[in-house]
Symmetry: C2
Subunit: 289 residues, 2 copies
């Protein structure tokens, strides 16, 4: 049921992305934008659509918010994969953008995907209420900028040259920005669109996002590169502190399971209507443990 909902969401969001990318023509940068926004699991878009369902928001409107966050996520991956950043040649089981095109195209495609996210959120496709569109723009900017996702990435880079490995608190803070902020934005989007209380979804997303990142560290150690669609073992090779290096493999898994329970409990106010989100929390740790 969750798997079907995830795939259906990815299809819907993919159609929407095709539509919003249509005006950009066929230059390499536009091709790269289409490529970078396809082939993923679409977890963030799925979270937006589920969150919208819980708050009675029309899926035909919410799908634009879902497309926006997937565009923003895609920009971050394209830039993170650059040689000067993580230097990855494989993503979603395919060559990364700078490998398939070149670095200049990857920089520009990433830049334009970020812009696109804000353009889509500001459009009347998302909501008739300007205050809602503005709230989505402002919160996505906060989540993705130098106090959110970029901060996480910057802390990650700083950690590579630091004298001492990060502590558990520091890694948690880093990951809260790097991965957590966008997951939180996605999960809260439906409540924001309905102008309702975001607290239950925020608590869910905080626990689920951290479980997601712990699971990612576990995957980096014991996952299957082919299934993951990206290179693994890079963190250990780089001697970086991770949840696994700090908690041990069993400790990390136990912590992730505990967080998933917290995430599920946070959804109590929604009853069974939130079952897809509960299964999503399970999924982020079972995909690879």
């Amino acid at each position: 049921m969750f798997k079907q909902a995830l795939d259906a969401a990815a299809d819907q969001v993919g159609i929407c992305l095709t539509e919003v990318l249509m005006p950009f023509g066929d230059l390499p940068v536009a091709q790269a934008m289409r490529y970078a926004t396809s082939g993923g699991k679409g977890l963030r878009g799925f979270l937006v659509l589920e969150s919208a369902k819980l708050h009675g928001i029309d899926q035909a409107r919410a799908v634009y918010a879902a497309a926006a966050v997937e565009a923003l996520h895609a920009y971050s991956l394209v830039h993170d994969d650059l040689p000067c950043m993580d230097d990855d040649d494989l993503r979603r089981g395919r060559p990364t953008v700078h490998v398939k095109w070149d670095e200049a195209t990857a920089v520009l495609a990433g830049d334009a995907l970020q812009t696109l996210a804000f353009e889509v959120l500001a459009s009347d496709a998302v909501s008739d209420d300007p205050a809602v569109r503005l709230a989505l723009v402002a919160s996505l900017a906060k989540a993705s900028g130098a106090q959110g996702m970029v901060l996480g990435q910057a802390l990650d880079i700083a950690a590579e040259t630091a004298d001492t490995p990060l502590t558990l608190d520091q890694i948690t803070h880093l990951q809260d920005g790097k991965t957590g902020a966008l997951i939180r934005w996605s999960t809260e989007a439906g409540a924001v669109m309905a102008r309702e209380d975001v607290t239950p979804l925020r608590n869910y997303a905080r626990a689920m996002g951290l479980a997601f990142q712990i699971a990612d560290d576990v995957l980096d150690v014991e996952g299957d590169a082919e299934l993951a669609g990206k290179r693994l073992g890079k963190d250990a090779d780089a001697g970086k502190a991770t949840f696994v290096s700090l908690l041990g493999l069993d400790g990390a898994k136990a912590r992730a399971r505990q967080l998933v329970e917290e995430a599920e409990a946070a959804l109590d106010p929604y009853g069974q209507a939130a079952d897809n989100l509960r299964q999503a929390a399970q999924f982020v740790i079972t995909r690879n443990m």
Copy 2:
């Protein structure tokens, strides 16, 4: 009078940028964001403030829109200067961001400056009216994305490997995106904030923006690198078609002067109140001819 207004605008916008960059702490990426947004002439911020004056908009509000467009402009310069793009080591008379820090910091600082532009525009500092803030966000996204500034940059890159040099129409289209779109956005901002007709300012900006770019091509050929604060002669060295290569040096200068006359005439509806903008149009071609 114009020069004083330009300097005063740069000071005001600089103070505002310091304020909005305050929360970002002192990591290299935040330092690089401050560095990249300082030291420029601040033409785009000045255009916002002048446009706001013409439409009775409080300068204390307009300065945030000015700071936003200067942040966005700074992001584009930081990324354009990257080794994989124009590979420049000098900007505003100082080392470029990737030279002073490193490429990863330059990519991230540029990314976060783009985000910051949208965050500032979405904030209530700019206007109490959500519809106004939204109009500014939507139009800046359109101006700077893959149908605007990034399109211009992508066309520029495509031209480097094309078999035939660009025609005058193609270069005009390219520059309309690369430089024109942001200049237009800046010039229209005051009318957008007042919810008034943007047509006269749009006509001014279209002519002035093109004159600006022609003047830039002239500067590239006969300018003084020290005064310009960046490397010159790069286009000619690269064998790229420019307004100068297509129109000749005298033809390019004549065309720029004609465009400045058009720009000045477009401001007739504003009378003497628009004198600073008229002088700005003169300035863009006299700074280097």
